[in-house]
Structures are given as C-alpha cells and as structure tokens.
Amino acid sequence: MSSFAHLTKIEIRLLFRDPLAVVLSLILPTAILLGLGSVPLLRERNDELGGIRFIDYYAPSVLVMSVAVMGLAIMPGVIATYRERGMLRRMRTTPIPPGALLGAQLLVGLGTALIAALLVVVAGRLVIGVPLPQHPVGFAVAFVLGIAAVFSLGLVVAALAPNARVAQTFSTILFMSVMFFGGVYVPLSMLPDSIARIANYIPPGVGVLLDAWTGTAPPVLPLVIMGAVTLGLGLVSARVFKWE
C-alpha cells in the first residue's frame, strides 16, 4: 500500500475511535433534521416560504452544519494538535512528501462531510418526506464547490494555528459565521434580504443549495466565487503552512 493510502486509512481509523467526532460530524445533522421534522407545525406548507414546508426549506442549512462541523470544528483542531504535539515535525523527518498528511486529512474530512450530507438527504427523504434535490447536477456542483470552500477556510486555520486552543478560537469564529450565513441559527427567510443575498457568497452558499434543491439551476457567480475562494485559500495555506 502506498504511504498516502496507508496514512488515509489510519486517519479514518483514528476518526472512528473518537466517538464525539463521529457523533458530531456524521449523526448530529441528521438527528437535528429529523428532530425538527417530528414537529407537525414544521411539516405544514408555509405560504411565506413560497408554499414549501419549513423542514424542506431548512434542509440545506442542515447540510451547511454537517460541512461546517467537519471542516471548521474538527479538522483544523486535529491538524493544530498534530503540530502542537510535534507529530508534524516527526513526519518531516521521514521521506513522506509534506503534503501527504494534509491530503489524507482533507480526503477523510471531505469524505466524512459527504457521507454526513448523504445521510441528511436520504434520511430526510425516507423519514420526513423531504424531496430529493430537484436539480441534481446543479446541486452536486454547488455542494462540492461549497464544501471545498468551507474546508479551505478551515485549512488556513490548520496551516497556521500553533496549538489546538488557538485553532479552536479562530475556527469557532469562522464556524459561527458560516452557520449564521448558512441559516442554521435563524432561517434565512427571517433575515433581511441584504443578508440573505450575502449568504449566497459566504461558503458554502446556502441560498444556491436551496435553489438547486428546489429545482432552479444555480446561478454562476456564487459558484465561481466558491471555486476562487477554494483555490486562493488552498494556495495560501500551502504557502504559509507551519510544520512546528
């Protein structure tokens, strides 16, 4: 097995040995969606939301949560801990290419976020009848670019934070912002229009996800911005990455 594959395998195992991380990243979003879905009022058609149920309207925000938990609440802390405890330094004394550890970490994080999202979509459909995304291609593109953009935010913190505590401070700020603009705390429909519009451009772009979910092709500009954020922040974090 190549060293990268081996590293990825171990990172997956380590994630699954941390029950809190598994619950937070994989189970919590689905549990919240189903919990809200158990409230009859939220399953009634709502004219203020253009005739769809609140729970259908809220589903994309739950996806934002699943991505934010992995990309901002967990991943930066893991890498900062590796740095704090000299694990990155030790890796540096081996022939493994420097990016491999980050690559493995990113792969595991993205994979986990995707599985969490899949759980939300499938459980939402089966248990409380949330329709599947109506514009599947647009939704897939918007979601992948959105996840990547959120992870690139987390990656900047992961690249620089000297220890887990500092990582936590900065990623909490990012986490709260992403959750807020993702309509997790307060549904977007209850926020002023201006904020709802900005939210299209704040990773992962919840408005765009909602559009694609309800069947509208996602607008191009927010997608381009997500791509640009990913590329830009990805390059920055690779450039400024601190090994110790």
Partner: protein
C-alpha cells in the same frame, strides 16, 4: 570513513546566535555524543543535520548528501528521534510502526523492532496508554523503522526513571552493534560517559572540545588525589619527597595527597616501607564533570 561532516555551521535566531561556527565529523559505526547544557545549540545543530533547518552559513554533509538539497534521499537513510514528539492518542503501537514503515523504500520489519524494543505486550496499546519509557522506546523504533544508516537521538532519556534509562542505554548499544552510526544529543554526563565513543562539548553555540570521554576527563587535569587515614603519624616531608606528589593536605585524621603520574603506587610503597597501614584509602580522578567545568567554567548538573 566520515559519515557526517559539519563545517563552520552558523544558525542565528534574531540577534541570538544559537549555533556559532560548529564543526565536527562523525565516523561510521560510532556513537558520537553532543553534550551541553540546555540552550547550548545542540538541538539546532542536529536539526541542521536532519535537514529540518537551513543553516545561515557553513556546510553539512551526511553520507555525501546535502540535507537541504537532497532532503528526500537523506530521509531514507537518516532516522531521527526528536525531543517532545508524540503520536495521536488513539494510534496503536503496531499501527504507528506499520504506518511509518510505509514511508520508506526499504523499511525494517515492524514485528522485529517491536520485539527488539520489548513492546510486544503493548502492540495493540494506544499511544495515550503507554508509559514514558514505552513512548520513548516507540520513538526509537520509529527512528529505526526506515533501516537508517545514521540515527540521531535527541534527549533520549529525559524524564525516564533510572531503570528505563539503563534499558534505553542497552538498546542504543544494540542498535550500534547492528551497524548504525549514532548521534546522541544529551545533557546528561553519565549518559555521555557510558555510551559515547567520542563527544563534542557544546557551550553557547560553540564547540568547546571534541574527544573521547576519557580524553576529555584527562584534559581537566592529570591531577589525582589519594585520601587515607594513616595507622600512625606520618611526616608530610616523606610524602613531598616523592616526585609524583605535588601537595599534601590534612583534614581531620585524613591525609590528602595530590599529584600526578603513578601517584597511588608511589604513595602505597612509601607507606609499606614505613610499616604504615592506610585505612579508608580512596583514589579520586577527574571525571567528565570536572572536564565540563574546566571547559565551560560551569557545571552541567548544577547550573
């Protein structure tokens, strides 16, 4: 054959010269010690050898490779055990070794290292559950997993209990016996004296001396002291007449004779001729500790 050549190495942090013109060579198959107090520049020096830091000036060559230019190649043949480097809490001993083995072209057998380092019972134990000594042994195993020709061991026994320290020392000798050249960074005298074939004493970023432990001790002065309690009074003049004797002091009932050369046998035959029996006879020689004080003007253990 020189395996490591360090020449005029300089490394500066801000206005502080951590390493200030360090030069030494390490021969194949030896245990070479780098001894000095905390903050003397030992770790920075070996980090330049390992390719973790870029020297400001000077040159480093390890097995003919330049650690900065040929970093990837060097890391295939140099194993490093770092100070204060841990593993993820949930990673198991065996997993760590298998993982690190996958990083190398021609790794050692993880099962063999686990046996050699006495970690068999802990094969499945997560890192968080290992004792300090076990972590240190795992750390050594990880430094050896790539089948290195050179191993750099930094502050190997800091924080270990006396038994674990001695076990670790035995282990280092075994590793050397298997043909690995070892650079041992330490601030412990006894460790350097016990393990090292040669050592460089580093102080304030400079090499104060390079020699064998015995050679360094001898530099501190050839002077020896013989102490004893004579069975009956003894005239100082008799002792001072011996060419080996430099001075005679008395402390309570004890006579303290200092001098050089074959001091003990000269004093012993004088006592025998005069039918004096020496009680509590003790010979004191300069130690590596004395050498360190002589070289740097301060003691390592009591700064």
């Amino acid at each position: 054959m020189a395996v490591i050549e360090v020449k005029d190495l300089v490394k500066q942090y801000g206005s502080h010269r951590a390493v200030d013109g360090v030069s030494f060579t390490v021969e194949e198959g030896e245990i070479f010690g780098i001894l000095g107090p905390n903050g003397a520049g030992k770790t920075t020096t070996v980090e330049c050898v390992e390719g973790l830091r870029k020297p400001d000036s000077g040159s480093v060559s390890v097995l003919g490779l330049d650690p900065r230019r040929d970093g990837r190649e060097l890391k295939q043949v140099l194993g490093a055990q770092l100070q204060e480097s841990s593993l993820p809490d949930h990673m198991r001993v065996e997993e760590a070794l298998n993982l690190y083995a996958s990083f190398y072209r021609d790794p050692a057998d993880p099962a063999h290292l686990i046996r050699m380092l006495g970690l068999e019972e802990k094969r499945k134990a997560p890192f968080a559950k290992l004792s300090g000594g076990q972590r240190q042994r795992l750390s050594i195993a990880l430094a050896l997993i790539g089948n290195p020709r050179v191993a750099v061991l930094d502050e190997l026994t800091t924080g270990l209990d006396p038994q674990a320290r001695r076990d670790t020392w035995d282990l280092v000798e075994e590793v050397r016996a298997s043909g690995v050249t070892i650079v041992l960074v330490t601030h412990f005298m006894d460790e350097a004296e016990r393990l090292c074939d040669r050592l460089a004493v580093i102080d304030s970023g400079k090499v104060a001396a390079i020699d064998t432990p015995a050679g360094l001790a001898a530099r501190a002065g050839e002077e020896q002291r013989v102490r004893f309690k004579p069975s009956r009074p003894l005239d100082d003049a008799l002792l001072l007449a011996l060419p080996e004797v430099a001075a005679v002091d008395r402390s309570g009932g004890q006579v303290i004779v200092s001098g050089r050369g074959n001091l003990l046998s000269a004093v012993a035959s004088l006592l025998a001729v005069n039918h004096i029996v020496a009680a509590d006879l003790r010979v004191e020689q300069a130690t590596l500790d004395d050498a360190f004080v002589a070289l740097t003007g301060r003691s390592l253990d009591h700064p």
